[in-house]
């Protein structure tokens, strides 16, 4: 079948993308690439009903996520697209531009506890296709402007005279944009390379510098529904020091980092970097009885965080779970397979 060939070719191409990149690209580029993958699937796969489209997207998305399970963004983007498909379905069946009001209690009970009745109304698949493609385009646009929109909120969170501490500024696209649009008086960047546009300090100086700091602004790798955050390794030190000195901690992340999964133990998901980053290979023989670990991420618990900034809102960690239902549909993330 022509569309099976098309789908498998798309699958091969996206897997090749992962193999080709030696250094991991920024999260926003990965999110855009994932959206393009799903966009191509919507465009070239063959389907008659919304259920079929959802089944195809889910099959391909879950397969890809199983192959690269340390990349939450793959599944987040899958859920975004599935939400778009369901919304498009709803708009078409209700025949209006507004989606059905949430207050319909019968629908609510139905959705909360049971699978909804199979869509009896025939959807025009061409209309569905174009609707979903429009939605994906909007979502891509939102990713492109997310760094800028986060930075626009900087004025509400910081003043010019603030002393700000951040972590590894040069490695985060979001933070670089943030500080280029908002010039704080003094910026300290921990564990950064000397070329960064800030005062670089090492991690041993965190506590002494924290006494002078008024704000901590950090970038998240993933935001979990209980308000905790997955961040680059070493961030936990900064957050604990900030708590000690009562300095507010603000995390910035685009919506594509919202992950509808709880992580009780980060060990299962933590990515290990190269051991040679910690211990050079020339020393390996001397330390042959030493096991070298290089975890790339830290889990920051919710009680250390003051605020989470996404491109559309600023929320306390207690209320982050509301964002999840803004971007993803109940059906899709309810029974997720880890």
């Amino acid at each position: 079948m022509a569309d099976q060939v098309a789908v498998s070719r798309l699958r091969d191409r996206v897997n090749l993308y992962f193999h080709k990149t030696a250094v991991r690209e920024s999260s926003s580029k990965l999110a855009l690439r994932m959206l393009s993958f799903f966009e191509d699937l919507v465009r070239y796969a063959h389907y008659e009903t919304a259920e079929q489209l959802i089944a195809i997207l889910r099959a391909e998305g879950e397969l890809l996520y199983a192959a690269h399970s340390n990349e939450f963004i793959i599944r987040n983007m899958l859920l975004v697209v599935l939400r778009g498909v369901r919304d498009e379905c709803l708009t078409q069946t209700s025949g209006s531009d507004d989606t059905l009001p949430q207050a319909d209690s019968l629908n609510h009970f139905q959705r909360l506890w049971f699978l909804p009745a199979p869509n009896q109304v025939q959807i025009n698949s061409a209309q569905l296709r174009s609707g979903v493609l429009d939605f994906i385009k909007e979502m891509k646009e939102e990713i492109n402007v997310s760094a800028e929109m986060i930075s626009n909120q900087a004025g509400h969170q910081l003043v010019k005279t603030d002393t700000v501490m951040t972590y590894k500024l040069s490695q985060s696209g979001t933070l670089k944009k943030f500080f280029s649009l908002f010039r704080a008086k003094t910026i300290y960047s921990v564990d950064d390379d000397p070329s960064a546009p800030a005062n670089v300090i090492s991690s041993v100086e965190i506590l002494s510098t924290m006494k002078l700091t008024t704000r901590v602004v950090l970038s998240a790798a993933a935001i979990l529904p209980d308000g905790s955050v997955v961040a680059p390794a070493g961030t936990l030190n900064v957050c604990l020091a900030a708590k000690r000195h009562s300095v507010p901690v603000v995390f910035c992340a685009g919506y594509y980092k919202l992950t509808p999964m709880f992580i009780p133990h980060l060990d299962e998901f933590n990515v290990q970097g190269r051991p040679t980053d910690v211990l050079p290979a020339s020393e390996a023989l001397k330390f042959s009885n030493v096991s070298v670990a290089n975890p790339l991420f830290d889990l920051i618990p919710a009680h250390l965080i003051t605020l989470v900034l996404t491109q559309s809102s600023a929320k306390t960690p207690l209320h982050v779970y509301r964002l999840i239902s803004d971007y993803y549909h109940l059906e899709d993330f309810r029974q997720l397979d880890r």
Partner: protein, 311 residues
């Protein structure tokens, strides 16, 4: 128009269902009893039917078992079954309306029967091998989740508190040992001592409040505070039928019907000060996550879910 008394006593039915199958969820038994009352009701109007059902609920609340669970389960069942009446009320044929009620009741029951296995599945990622789990008293939901994790190959050690005055922790420990899980029975007073070696704390619940806090066997609050002081995560497992629309602010705020059994309330109406309460209220700040069949929630999110269920 007086409605004749329903032939089946709801309370007797409820008790017999639980006697026949002691592992059955209490809430499930309550709603099955209500469905029977619904089927055999001789009322001929919607109002009469509702009156029969609320009489049955009042009767079942006179049980010495957990009244929090019975109340919430019955209220949710009645809300769910009667949600059709707005649309179909125009239909003058009462028999058809009653049929709809029964049909929806059956659908609801079928879904609630699966609650415990859904919770067990949701809980699996939280258990790793070589974990030390602390639990309190006897909870069927916690038991099923732990058994399921064991069946999937996890090896862990469970510490169960004895849970006086009824020694229910002993039953829990026996059941766990029967399935080959390493179990230790500890004194209620030994919780502080054991907490430093524990990895996670798991509770069931008799009721989940709108605040996100829970009502559970007496002693739960002490264990939760101890866990918080030593930075151990506390997880609560509760089926969705246990969500209650009450907002207690402290222990004295919780209604007496949840704290004492019915027989105690009847016999010692004025001298309750001498009675020991059988449950306590654990506020949401001591809980990490609630695992329900509607999904995993933070205590703050539970309030939102409850509003959706009860509107």
């Amino acid at each position: 128009m007086t409605d004749p008394k329903p032939e089946i006593s709801a309370l007797k039915m409820f008790e017999s269902l639980l006697d026949k199958d002691p592992e059955k969820s209490m809430g499930l038994a309550a709603i099955e009893a209500l469905l029977e009352v619904l089927k055999t009701s001789t009322a001929s109007t919607v109002q009469g039917l509702t009156k029969d059902l609320s009489n049955a609920v009042d009767e079942m609340m006179r049980t010495d078992r957990s009244s929090a669970t019975v109340q919430s389960a019955c209220e949710l069942f009645l809300r769910f079954s009667s949600l059709i009446s707005q649309e179909k009320l125009i239909d003058a044929n009462f028999e058809a309306v009653k049929c709809e009620y029964v049909k929806r009741g059956n659908v609801f029951i079928k879904r609630i029967e699966k609650s415990r296995s859904i919770i067990a599945k949701c809980f699996r990622p939280f258990i790793r091998s070589n974990l030390k789990v602390l639990t309190h008293s006897y909870s069927k939901v916690v038991l099923e989740s732990l058994l399921e994790s064991k069946a999937h190959g996890c090896v862990f050690h469970v510490f169960v508190t004895e849970s006086q005055p009824d020694n229910s922790g002993r039953r829990m420990a026996e059941k766990l040992r029967q399935s080959g899980i390493q179990t230790t029975l500890i004194l209620d007073s030994a919780v502080g001592y054991i907490m430093e070696s524990i990895d996670i704390v798991v509770f069931g619940a008799e009721g989940v409040m709108e605040t996100g806090g829970i009502i559970n066997k007496i002693g739960t609050l002490g264990i939760a505070i101890c866990a918080k002081a030593m930075n151990k995560p506390v997880y609560v497992m509760a089926e969705s039928i246990k969500f209650i629309k009450e907002y207690p602010l402290n222990q004295s705020d919780t209604p007496n019907k949840f704290k004492y059994r019915y027989s105690t309330l009847e016999s010692k109406k004025d001298a309750l000060d001498d009675e020991h309460p059988l449950t306590d209220y654990t506020p949401p700040q001591y809980l990490n996550l609630l695992i329900t069949d509607l999904g995993i929630f933070t205590p703050a999110a539970v309030g939102d879910e409850l509003i959706k269920l009860y509107t």
